[in-house]
Amino acid sequence: MPEESILSDDFVRELMNVGDVDIVVGVPTFNDARSVGQVVQAVRAGLLKHFPRERSVIINADGGSRDGTQDMVRAAAISDLSVASDVHALRTLHSISTQYEGGPANGIAMHTILAATDLLQARACAIVSPESTTLEPDWMERLLRPVLREGNDLVLPIYRRPKFDGLLIRNLVFPMAKTLYGCTVREPYPADFAFSGELGSQFLSQDIWNQEQGRRGTELWMTLWAAIGKRKLVQSFLGTKTRREDAPSDLVAAMRETAGTLFISLDTYSALWHLTPELLEVPCLGCEPSISDGPSRLNRKRLYDMFTFGVKELDPVFLSILTSPTHDELKRLAGLPEEKFTYSGELWARTVYEFAIAFHKAIIGRDHIVQALVPLFRGRAHTFLTQNRDSSPEQMESKIDLLCKEFEQEKPHLTELWDGGK
């Protein structure tokens, strides 16, 4: 039986016309017509400004948009066919678009882009989020130069962003990735990043594309994989990142992409994290203070309410996931009034580890385990917000360091349950 190809025939024909290139810029989209045009224009301007001599292509992998997203991308091409070529470019810049099957899923989009990068033998590939409306042409240089000129394998972003953005990353992904794998990257689940063609090809040949981590959270998986493989990672300061006003912020989806992926990685790398990892040094290029002031309109009361409500309603589920001391402790917490409520880092670390164990043993449906973590995370977020309401960025950093330590201290708990549990 012929191997099922991720690339459609039409797309392959388009790639054939693009030929071998130096740079691929991938844009995974799904109904992003509102912002993708702006993003792709900035990408194009960045390529023209900083890499006019490199052969480049913008590849859009679309998950089945019906709002004209693909047309917006195609319009960014620079060719001799376009009616008015007011752009002074040395070369043809192809901008092609394909719809992949089985979407929308960022992992499949990334698989498509990686396959194209591999076919075109690109030296570097950058992936940018269609929601990065603050993307400036210079981002292209900051992402691609470390790969093209300095021989790095993976370039991860650092943004200037509001104080309380990225709570899940800071409270779960960062401490866990650091504790288990020594991965100290600030944005381990990047929206805009770049990697060398070689790294891309190797990642493409990983046997993950039929699995969960090949569908969602693939970027996080790539970061972990590269960090574990001791590749040359570097962080590059990009600029301000704001969310699109109407961007959906689906906490459950985010939890699936991050916690789900991390939990899967525990299975894959169990031999590795049982040892104490070496901390991976990841230099930061052009780093600036990365916290911008902005009004925080987060409703802590709601977080608290959803936590207590979740603990109450999901009791039977928690019963099968958590050990009884942890379970009791959570029930006690849910009984406290909001002023006295504190979800300590230690308890949080233990909770996460016990969820990881439940996930490993598939005590109930794995997806249900991940979903059940959401209300608990809200509780943790509440405490984090309370503790850092008046913190300076430095103080917040030290709080996160402390949390990492607590994850480290609780690690034996994880190992013990993993090895000894029934």
Partner: protein
């Protein structure tokens, strides 16, 4: 006379012996069938076990939450259950075939009806098994999404869903087996109808304000000032 008696006795003995001689091979045959059946069923069980292991049936049913039901009722793993079930059905089948070999006239009809009944039983069993699994899975899914979407009383929704599905599954299973199908169906219909009515009432009562507002806005746009939109609070930005 004695001679006669002896002769009769001998003939009877002979007959008995003959019938025993006639019966004994069949009995042995039956025993052989039962033993062979046990062996075959045993092999079948082993085969099914390994097939299920290869297709990762346990994982599959774990993913659908099947393991939980079994674990709660202190039952072995789903693949074990299935292989045991197959083992017993196969062996029972062989025992019954063995019995039918015996020259016992009254034993034949129940056996044939057993074999007629067997496929239905298997189907009913599967419906019940997977139906209950599905009920448990979907009710938990409903519970989790209810909690995460901040819906009111997710546990009630979840329990209702589970009850409905269990009822539905049972009625289906009975339907297949053909026992009291009518009664169960009526019970199910009653319960379902009651629930729908309840939901309709609840929605109607709860949503009457919403409905009124909608109608007002729909038919008299501009007549009523729009309610000021509540300041939108940021949802968490997790990533």
């Amino acid at each position: 006379m004695w001679q006669n008696f002896i002769g009769e006795l001998a003939r009877t003995m002979d007959e008995i012996l003959r019938s025993v001689a006639r019966f004994l091979p069949r009995f042995l045959e039956m025993l052989l069938l039962v033993v062979a059946g046990w062996v075959i069923a045993f092999v079948l069980r082993a085969a099914i076990r390994s097939v299920l292991r290869i297709v990762r049936f346990d994982k599959l049913s774990e993913h659908t939450g099947a393991a939980e039901v079994l674990r709660r009722s202190a039952l072995p793993s789903p693949s074990e259950m299935l292989s045991r079930f197959v083992f017993w059905v196969a062996w029972l089948g062989f025992i019954l075939v063995g019995l039918s070999v015996l020259p016992v006239p009254w034993i034949a009809p129940p056996i044939s009806s057993f074999f007629g009944f067997l496929p239905r039983l298997v189907v009913a069993f599967f419906i019940l098994f997977f139906g209950l699994l599905a009920a448990s899975f979907f009710s938990r899914a409903a519970l989790l999404s209810g909690v995460n979407a901040d819906l009111p009383s997710p546990r009630l929704i979840s329990q209702t869903l589970r009850t409905m599905m269990v009822l539905f599954v049972i009625s289906m299973a009975f339907e297949v087996v053909g026992i009291g199908s009518r009664t169960v169906l009526i019970a199910f219909s009653l319960a379902f109808g009651a629930l729908m009515l309840g939901l309709a009432l609840a929605f109607g009562l709860g949503g009457k304000d919403l409905a009124r507002k909608y109608l007002e806005r729909r038919f008299a746009r501009g007549t009523f000032p729009e309610e000021p939109r509540k300041e939108r609070e940021d949802e968490l930005s997790p990533l």
